[in-house]
């Protein structure tokens, strides 16, 4: 067996193992529930907001937002119609990973890495990553997201 054939054999075996491991990982980790963080923390608020968006519970997600008068959004319907198109909401798959949290009194920021999966052909990049910084403010015991209140990042 010459060198290139030997390497080909090794690569085939490694790729076979990779495929099996990937399938097993997805199958066995799929049922795991997200561990909920404390709701009264900035990261817990962002986590719940994103979970509600993921489950398309927009009304519940809206409850985590706090708008300034300049946003010109006063009702849930204003927000929904300006963000969610009936044609686009289910077209992409995305996941969000919580990153660094910075808290300063009643203000906080939470870094979130959002990866969007958008297969567009065999030679195109199917993943798009973006970092979003959520800005929160504390009112009473609860934290509210003041920015971004739009949802364009998930499409």
């Amino acid at each position: 067996m010459n060198s290139s054939r030997r390497w080909l054999g090794i690569f085939t075996a490694v790729i076979g193992i990779l495929a099996i491991v990937a399938v097993l990982l997805v199958l066995f980790t799929n049922g795991r529930k997200v561990t909920l963080l404390d709701e009264n923390t900035p990261q817990g608020t962002v986590q719940r907001y994103l979970i509600e968006l993921k489950d398309t519970n927009y009304a519940k997600a809206y409850a985590y937002l706090l708008f300034s008068p300049s946003d010109k959004i006063s009702t849930y319907n204003d927000w929904l119609t300006s963000n969610v198109s009936p044609y686009s909401y289910n077209q992409t798959t995305w996941k969000a990973t919580l990153g660094k949290v910075t808290q300063d009194g009643n203000n906080a920021t939470v870094d979130v890495m959002v990866d969007t999966f958008r297969p567009g052909g065999i030679f195109s990049n199917s993943q798009y990553s973006q970092q979003i910084v959520f800005i929160l403010t504390k009112t009473g015991n609860s934290w509210f997201i003041t920015s971004p209140t739009y949802l364009y990042w998930m499409f």
Binding site: I15, T35, K54, T97, S126
Partner: protein, 561 residues
């Protein structure tokens, strides 16, 4: 295999390989995402995302993998033990194209990965796709390189196509190494605790320092592998000469000279008390200017020395890159000198006419003029002198050389256009004032730029016009009836072909007779070369075969049936 079949096989193999490795990359990215990045405690939507990724990855791998394997095995069966197939240009194009793309992809992905390692292995910043790309591209590169090097490069096309992979990668590595070094030194320099008036300062160990070190490591490794290992002993190559003269020597020289002009400009500005409008401290520019000059000189000097060492082994005909380099450097030097002189005349005209100029204006002009002159003049003198020596010994080939013709016509043409534009403006300004009955009103100010460029353009035109006319008198531009001359001889050094080309003024095709020793042929006297040239020129046919037999060259005119 015929060419169409070969083309079909390699195209389909390339496409299926693309599908296959993209699928493998997706699965590997998924694996890293779950094992390294993901924490189900903090990740939202991961399961759905991974299902999609697994579906796409498996689909591409299951379809692309077997297809690629089938086509690749079919190709390999036909290649096995067949030197003609091994050396086929399409096979080598396929292999070297994959090597080039996979190497660059792997290096870029590796730099992101190394930067992530240096930045403290933060899970949130980890890119599973990046690491997967690095591994997949690395494996593809490794497998094809093993294959390519083990089967060898038995044909001239195979060797040429290998060079089209080796030299661009060597240059890529060198550029990364150089940029990384300059960036790192600049970051360190700007973080020294010597700069006053700094309100806020970042840390030295920032993303620029981390990416610079990644670039240095990867650039050095890439350059070492491709230049010191793969390109070693590849002397008889035109692309090597292009790499030397048009990429590294010219690139290094231009980098060093541009930054030297900036350095001198800032130095003279400081000496004359001029001002620089900038938020950064005055001498912080030394952090990028000095390392850029040193790196540029190192690249320039090393490659020039290496090219000179190898000059004896290089066939004369492969030295056109050297000629282009000389003319390129001469035109750069001349342009820099002319701009410096023109600026200097501007200052003299201003001083002579006692015009009011803004405060600090002359310091800026004088600083840039001296910077340009100090760099441009020695450069032009050195390379123009080199060109004059080449022309003295090179004969008609040097006079006729395309690079020389372009050099002379560019300078003469540019000078004429400049002169015309300058004269139009000067006459317009003069006539306008005369007709309006106000001949003294600020004429020198309005015509200053035209006057200062007119003096330089006129001198350039006069000198280069003389050179151009002298070349024309020597027959550099007379139309030559080109004949297809083929030399069948044991002329491995290319000396005989080069001497014939010098006299004829066009290229001679060389064929080597099989079974000969490769020992250089005893030098023919000049008279014999002249006789051969006159026989070629007087032959009735446009196709001539020169055959070397028993130390004698026979001229055989022929025609195709």
């Amino acid at each position: 295999m015929n060419t169409t079949r070969r083309f079909w096989f390699y195209t389909v193999t390339l496409i299926t390989l693309g599908i296959f490795i993209t699928g493998v990359g997706q699965l590997l990215a998924l694996l890293f995402d779950v094992l390294i990045k993901s924490s189900y405690g903090t990740q939202i939507g991961g399961a759905n995302f991974h299902e999609q990724q697994l579906s796409l990855g498996l689909a591409m791998m299951v379809i692309g993998g077997p297809l690629w394997f089938f086509f690749w095995q079919a190709v390999q069966r036909r290649v096995k033990g067949n030197p003609e197939e091994i050396g086929a240009a399409l096979r080598k194009l396929f292999l070297n194209f994959i090597l080039l793309i996979s190497a660059i992809t792997a290096i870029i992905a590796a730099s992101d990965f190394i930067k992530w390692l240096f930045s403290g292995v933060q899970r949130a910043d980890f890119s599973p796709g990046g690491l997967a790309t690095m591994i997949v591209a690395g494996i593809v590169w490794f497998y094809h390189r093993q294959l390519s090097e083990s089967e060898g490069h038995p044909s001239s096309a195979a060797r040429t196509l290998r060079r089209w992979y080796v030299y661009p990668l060597a240059l890529f590595g060198l550029v990364w190494l150089a940029v990384g070094l300059v960036q790192l030194i600049n970051t360190a320099f700007s973080n020294l605790p010597i700069w006053g008036n700094i309100l806020i300062k970042g840390q030295f160990w920032n993303s620029i320092a981390q990416s610079s070190i990644a670039m240095i490591l990867l650039g050095a490794a890439t350059w070492y592998l491709h230049w010191f290992r793969m390109a070693r002993d590849d002397f008889d190559s035109t692309l090597r000469q292009v790499y030397f003269y048009l990429a590294t020597i010219s690139g290094g020289a231009i980098t060093a000279l541009v930054y030297a002009i900036i350095l001198l400009d800032r130095f003279f500005l400081w000496v004359f008390g001029g001002t620089v409008v900038s938020a950064v401290p005055r001498f912080q520019f030394l952090g990028w200017a000095v390392p850029a000059i040193l790196v540029g000189i190192a690249i320039w000097g090393y490659h020039l020395r290496k090219a000179q060492e190898e000059a004896g082994r290089v066939q004369e005909r492969r030295q056109s890159s050297q000629r282009i380099y000389y003319y390129l450097m001469a035109i750069l030097g001349l342009g820099t000198t002319a701009t410096g002189l023109s600026n200097l005349f501007g200052i003299l005209i201003d001083t002579g006419t006692s015009l009011t100029v803004s405060n600090g204006w002359w310091q800026n002009q004088l600083a840039i003029s001296l910077g340009l002159l100090l760099v441009g003049t020695p450069l032009w003198l050195y390379y123009w002198n080199g060109i004059l020596k080449r022309v003295q010994t090179g004969g008609i080939t040097e006079w006729r050389a395309l690079s020389r013709r372009i050099f002379l016509y560019v300078i003469v043409g540019t000078s004429i256009i400049l002169l015309a534009a300058d004269l139009v403006n000067i006459i317009y300004q003069l006539l306008r004032r005369l007709l309006q009955g106000n001949p003294d009103s600020n004429f020198m100010h309005a015509a200053k730029w035209s006057l200062q460029t007119l003096i330089v353009a006129a001198a350039l035109l006069w000198y280069h016009w003389q050179v151009l006319r002298a070349d024309q008198r020597r027959g550099a531009e007379t139309v030559v009836t080109r004949k297809h001359v083929t030399l069948l001889a044991d002329d491995r050094t290319g000396d005989l072909a080069a001497r014939l080309e010098n006299k004829l003024g066009y290229q001679v095709r060389t064929l080597y007779q099989l079974g000969q020793t490769g020992a250089p042929m005893a030098g023919l006297p000049d008279e014999e070369i002249d006789n051969l040239v006159s026989e070629i020129q007087s032959a009735a046919s446009s196709k001539i075969m020169l055959v070397q037999l028993n130390g004698k060259i026979t001229v055989l005119p022929y025609r195709e049936k």
